[in-house]
């Protein structure tokens, strides 16, 4: 096992990793910018090193400073958390080049999954479901018609060189295909100088469902069930559930079997998450995150594992010690991301926290680096707390969430607690009936 772990992160996730290390008896090194000198993750660490000025590029993204901090403190492993350098394959390589262990996947796998198109091709080739459509460019309208009939309407004509929504047209039925075809090609030509297009099924009301996996260095791979992260605003997850209100155990088992087989085949190691769109009973792989995720606590709640401890054990070369059949899912968990943002305008609200009181009692977990008197600096992510509730059933979890949100007190800065209070009161949410578009519409409607 490691002698000392440097945690290359800040905020609640640095604290989360410290807690796991402390419970495992491993000393930790905190790194921090000058803005975070008084931060909780610094106060709780066994040792701390200031690595630079407030801007992240000069501190939390400053690879030389982080490696030097590991050297001067004698750390032998680095946990990157999420965000910052956690998906930076070059960083992982440099960590290993310095004779330290990177607590995460191999740089090769990070690189593979970092290229979103290559990731899709690799996973598709391994039997992971993708959005149905053409294999590459569609040359003629006739070919487009044929494929559209196969995958079913609505379909999307997309510029192969495209991005940002341009060169992209929906055809809701066969009568709209010809016009969509021409418009997409014309837009593609003018926007990208290339009129090549491809075709895929258009998912108009998908859920975001992701699968947590763990793999050790000995070829064992398990999945820990899915999380439903459809409650999003501007592609930022706001509230997550495990399991998904839309997934049955059979569907979970099937997806899990496909995904774990694929990852075993490529020799993936450590924690990872496969993200899918899910609509009409079908999954379509979007991307894989090769790191711990913000919402990992809801998975911990339903499967009883400590994911950070598992990451550290795997990185130290230990075998998982359990198989898929040992993983049992019990109850339901929901996480609210509490951000230092105005709950109406979503503008960040950095400042000094005058008072902080977290909810308590049965089935409530709070991960937060806030404390009364602390400062929320303006330089970093606005996530300041995660409220996670667990209960035997989804409806009990919602009731628990509602009362916990009422107990949550942050004085001095605005947070998104009121937004969550509004969400949990909505009949659509209570019914579990929401897609990735729901929250955006709700926010616009109720603003």
């Amino acid at each position: 096992m490691f002698n000392k772990i440097l945690i290359a992160n800040r905020g609640e996730i640095a604290l989360r990793i410290q807690r796991a290390c402390r419970e495992m008896g491993i000393p930790t090194v905190a790194v921090h910018s000058t803005a975070d000198a008084e931060a909780m993750h610094v106060r709780f660490a066994d040792e701390s090193v200031c690595i630079g000025p407030p801007p992240a590029r000069d501190s939390y993204l400053n690879i030389p400073a982080i490696l030097a901090a590991a050297t001067i403190t004698g750390a032998d492993a680095i946990h990157p958390g999420y965000g910052f350098l956690s998906e930076n394959a070059s960083f992982a390589e440099m960590v290993e080049a310095h004779g330290l262990t990177f607590i995460g996947p191999s740089p090769a796998h990070m690189r593979m999954m970092g290229d979103k198109i290559a990731a899709k091709q690799s996973m598709g080739a391994l039997g992971v479901p993708l959005v149905p459509g053409s294999d590459g460019e569609v040359a003629t309208l006739d070919e487009a018609r044929k494929i559209a009939d196969e995958v079913g309407y609505p379909v999307l004509i997309k510029a192969t060189a495209g991005g940002g929504g341009r060169g992209m047209k929906v055809a809701n039925d066969p009568s709209e295909l010809e016009e969509a075809w021409h418009v997409a090609r014309t837009e593609a030509k003018s926007a990208f100088g290339n009129d090549a297009v491809y075709l895929e099924k258009y998912l108009d009301k998908p859920r975001h469902v992701e699968l947590q996996v763990l793999a050790d260095a000995h070829g064992n791979v398990v999945h820990l069930g899915e999380r439903d992260c459809s409650m999003q605003r501007r592609h930022q997850k706001v509230l997550e559930e495990a399991g998904s209100p839309a997934i049955t155990p059979e569907v979970r088992d099937q997806l899990g079997a496909t995904a774990t087989a694929a990852l075993a085949k490529i020799g993936y190691r450590n924690a990872g998450t496969l993200e899918f769109l899910y609509q009409d009973g079908k999954f379509a792989f979007i991307e894989m995150n090769t790191r711990l995720q913000v919402e990992h606590p809801i998975t911990e709640a339903i499967c009883g594992l400590d994911l950070v401890r598992e990451q550290i054990r795997i990185a130290a070369g230990h075998a998982l010690g359990y198989t898929q059949s040992d993983i049992k899912f019990r109850g339901h968990a929901i996480e609210c991301r509490i951000n230092a943002e105005d709950p109406e305008t979503f503008l960040p609200t950095p400042g000094t926290v005058e008072a902080f009181h977290a909810p308590g009692g049965l089935g409530v977990r709070v991960d937060s680096a806030l404390y009364a008197g602390c400062k929320v600096p303006p330089y970093y992510d606005s996530l300041v707390a995660k409220l996670v509730v667990y209960a035997p059933t989804r409806l009990e979890a919602i009731a628990r969430l509602r009362r916990s949100l009422e107990e949550f007190a942050v004085v001095g800065i605005s947070t998104t607690v009121p937004l969550h209070q509004r969400i949990v009161a909505e009949p659509d949410f209570i019914a579990g009936d929401y897609t990735i578009h729901w929250l955006e519409k709700f926010v616009n409607r109720t603003r």
Partner: protein, 155 residues
């Protein structure tokens, strides 16, 4: 432009110092002119509240420690402080056994090398930004230093 007018940042800083120190008046005169800030009553300041409610943390985290050798907390704010621009290992001499670059009492000129800091197997020269006399040397050869840590006082 900034020389012709008062500097709002200066005023804010002075106000902050007033709050922190509990003074009722500060007057500063310099090239750019004179600034006087005053407050009739020492504030029952948010900073005070923060200090008090921040109290749990020291109680909670007794193990907090920088890997650096003991420097006075004030050194970083000393006007003559030379602060480390990076994380690394300090070297006071160009090579083992050699004379140190500078010693206490030496007069240095702007641009003169004061010490080296090794980071990522590279030795980085730390140079004096202005002329002066070395008053104190706050680190020893081989000592780990963090970003912003005071290395020397040159006045």
């Amino acid at each position: 432009m900034s020389d012709d007018r008062f500097d709002p940042e200066c005023v804010r800083q002075l106000a902050q110092i007033l709050s922190e120190t509990g003074l009722t008046e500060i007057e500063v005169e310099g090239k750019a002119g004179r600034i006087r800030v005053a407050r009739e009553h020492p504030p029952v300041a948010p900073t005070t509240v923060a200090a008090q409610v921040a109290a749990p943390a020291p109680a909670v985290a007794p193990a907090v420690s920088a890997p650096a050798p003991a420097a006075q907390p004030d050194d970083a704010h000393s006007p003559g402080a030379v602060l480390s621009p990076m994380v690394g290992i300090a070297y006071l001499s160009p090579e083992p056994g050699a004379e140190p670059f500078v010693m206490v009492g030496h007069t240095v000129t702007a641009g003169q090398t004061l010490m080296l800091i090794e980071a990522m197997k590279t030795f980085n020269q730390i140079k004096a930004t202005k002329a002066g006399t070395v008053r104190r040397i706050l680190v020893t050869t081989g000592a780990p230093v963090e970003y912003g840590q005071p290395l020397m006082i040159v006045e």
